[in-house]
Subunit: 427 residues, 2 copies
């Protein structure tokens, strides 16, 4: 617990802002070696790594992929309530992302020059889906639906299936989202296969989706060979709360991030020391009953933080420095605070908007910038699966109007062929 | 010269598409070491590298920065025609980019849930401006104006000044664009200083701007610590032309890319072998007079290509595989071909739109994806200097309508604290 009025506050808070809780250099070296192997040995490298890391043998064609039929069967076998919940989530996510589709531009300006820009989806996108404990159907929906709304023709999932096991919920979500291919490959090797392609797996243009430190590092290293959604780190929540809150609600919200991973971070900023104490007690109580208590406690003990401010007026400045992935505004007039925030992945306004409602079903994407990256990055959107081509169409008269100025600039820059390409048309 | 009807065409064309003409691993290691030094030793490292690489001594405060007064003086000293040309370019670039400003979203859906997204500029952006031969005022305008249109408060230029020399045209452009700080530092060390900050140079959120292989690699390695505009490679032009063209115009267009750098690439696709021969001759002729002939010839000899197709109907498919930075459509009805293109950085329609008009003055950005990256990347825009915060505001009734489904999904995913944060509010 830090008090803004304490002497050491600035130093302690600055240290918290700097601490990225992210991966080390050895991961970078391991991943570079894996990428190199997959690039050179293709499917053979995938067979070797999958045997070693996933204890799964990739042999004949049959067991490399999970078929559309298997996904449909998983969907049909779902409990009806759960299936309806997934469908409701998919339809709300789809509706929100359809509103992100960008408009093309095409206009003619005052000198008669036609200018504009046209958006197109990428041809193919790859989605990494973690295996085991972190295989989340919600994550598949959040990644796959924007790609499909963007108009991506070929949507490829890679996912590790340790000992051959698959998560039926993920398959059901793939069925709902209309995934085109699913490959039983995981880790950095899967990302490399998506980026460079192998004999079996066709390469893609953009790779999205969450993963462990190796997967995240592989995406970072392959950025430029393909587009990637973002460099992701551990999850974060910042709750800004006045005295007038139920401490159990806030405790649950803080723990909902903490239960993801021991490196997750949960922060409470409040002007009420009494609320702060009650939240601490509520967390201790909740941890006694929570099945995920081990992870949540590890995260809360190592990275949890409560900041006591003199007045909530001080909260937006602190919040912008943290640039947290998720910011909850648990106050009567959240809009007032929201208007003063500049850097946050997603903001949850008011006491009845727990962050988890955004994880699943509200509609906006739950793939959001972490590690202070909301200073410059945005959550996943349809734009991550599209690109823009600008265009220029000059009439003879329009070229005559502005060509001479361009010739002058080209000559001043010492680029005579640039100048010539215009001047030869002005003769 | 390749003919699409020849036996070896597919193999030769595929090799051309694969060839990225990009940097090697040694650059990666050198850059990693430089970044590390700057991160650990800050300004001292900058002093050392600047003495070594730029032969320029950074000593007292006075010579680290180029002042706004120096920029204003450079602007005032410009030849009036050149100044007017720069101003015309700036005003057209500004007008085009103002049209890119995104709309916020804020709506309430059918269950009474308020959803939306809000765009903000980043706080600070860094622009790398090359020194020496490649110091282009047009490049400064193309990078700085979108940042200022986006609303970036602090716009920082770093540029090497070998032996202390500066380019007055670049300073004049900085004056026009409203750059806030200019630091006399270049190379990977400048990019590292912008990303991590030093005692003198405050860190930024996004780094844009062209540079040599070391600068490009530094940006790639620091992606994630900061946002970057893109991973850039050598420039490219693809001209698609029918028989009915002046070969001198096409020769000049091809050479306008070739003169940038020996690694640039110029490609002509035409259905007229006779035009192809005439263009080859016109290039030879132009090279005899061109002051930049040495570079242009090296590029044309090493990477130039003419593809003869049976019909221009075949051109869009080849063009999409190349996904070129610049595509010129030198035909009577360019729109017909344009409608069939999916992957290109920028398209220049019709015989009176030489690519160079887009480099300087048309309005759209000349910072465009290279190295086949138009498959997934877009040219520089105001969006590169902005980020989006999504938001959710649930009423008690809205939470009641969708909360139970979210609880079900959270439980199915094995995240009980997520479920608890919603269910505790539904009581």
């Amino acid at each position: 617990m830090l008090r803004i009025s304490d002497d050491g506050f600035e130093k302690a808070f600055a240290r918290m802002v700097r601490n990225r809780r992210e991966s080390d250099r050895q991961v970078g070296r391991d991943v570079a070696a894996i990428i190199n192997e997959v690039r050179e040995r293709g499917d053979d490298a995938l067979v070797d790594y999958t045997a070693r890391f996933d204890n799964h043998g990739l042999g004949d064609d049959g067991n490399w992929q999970i078929s559309a039929e298997e996904c449909r069967a998983a969907y049909s076998a779902l409990d009806a309530d759960l299936r309806d919940s997934l469908e409701m989530a998919a339809s709300r996510i789809r509706a929100y992302h359809e509103g992100q589709l960008p408009d093309d531009r095409d206009y003619t300006d005052d000198i008669g020059m036609r200018l504009g820009a046209r958006w197109n989806a990428v041809d193919a996108a790859g989605l990494y889906v973690p295996g085991g404990r972190a295989a989340y159907p919600s994550s598949l929906l959040m990644n796959a639906i924007p790609a499909k709304v963007a108009g991506v023709g070929r949507l490829v999932v890679t996912t590790p299936t340790p000992k051959g096991e698959v998560n039926p919920l993920v398959l059901a979500a793939a069925h709902i989202a209309g995934v085109d291919e699913i490959w039983r490959v995981g880790g950095a090797q899967a990302v490399a296969a998506l980026a460079y392609g192998t004999h079996r797996i066709g390469k893609v243009d953009v790779i999205a989706g969450p993963g462990n430190a190796w997967v995240a590092e592989a995406k970072r290293q392959l950025y430029g060979v393909v587009g990637i959604d973002m460099v992701a780190g551990p999850s974060e929540i910042l709750v800004i709360a006045d005295a007038n809150n139920d401490p159990e609600w806030i405790a649950a919200d803080l723990l909902s991030q903490a239960e993801h991973d021991p490196t997750s971070q949960s922060i409470l900023i409040t002007d009420s020391e009494s609320l702060a104490r009650q939240v601490e007690d509520a967390i201790d109580l909740a941890l006694m009953k929570l099945p995920t208590a081990k992870t949540a406690k590890a995260s809360w003990d190592a990275h949890g933080l409560i900041v006591i401010v003199d007045t909530l007026d001080q909260a937006p400045t602190l919040s912008d420095r943290l640039a947290a992935e998720h910011v909850e505004l648990m106050v009567d007039e959240p809009q007032v605070l929201f208007d003063r925030l500049r850097h946050a992945g997603s903001v949850f306004l008011g006491r009845h908007t727990p962050e988890a409602v955004g994880d699943y079903i509200a509609g906006p994407n739950h793939v959001l910038p972490t590690g202070r990256r909301a200073r410059f990055a945005s959550g996943l959107s349809v734009l991550d699966f599209m690109k823009r081509t600008s265009f220029i169409d000059a009439s003879e008269a329009a070229l005559a109007a502005i060509g001479p100025a361009a010739v002058r600039l080209a000559e001043a820059e010492g680029l005579p062929a640039h100048a010539l390409s215009i001047s030869t048309r002005l003769k």
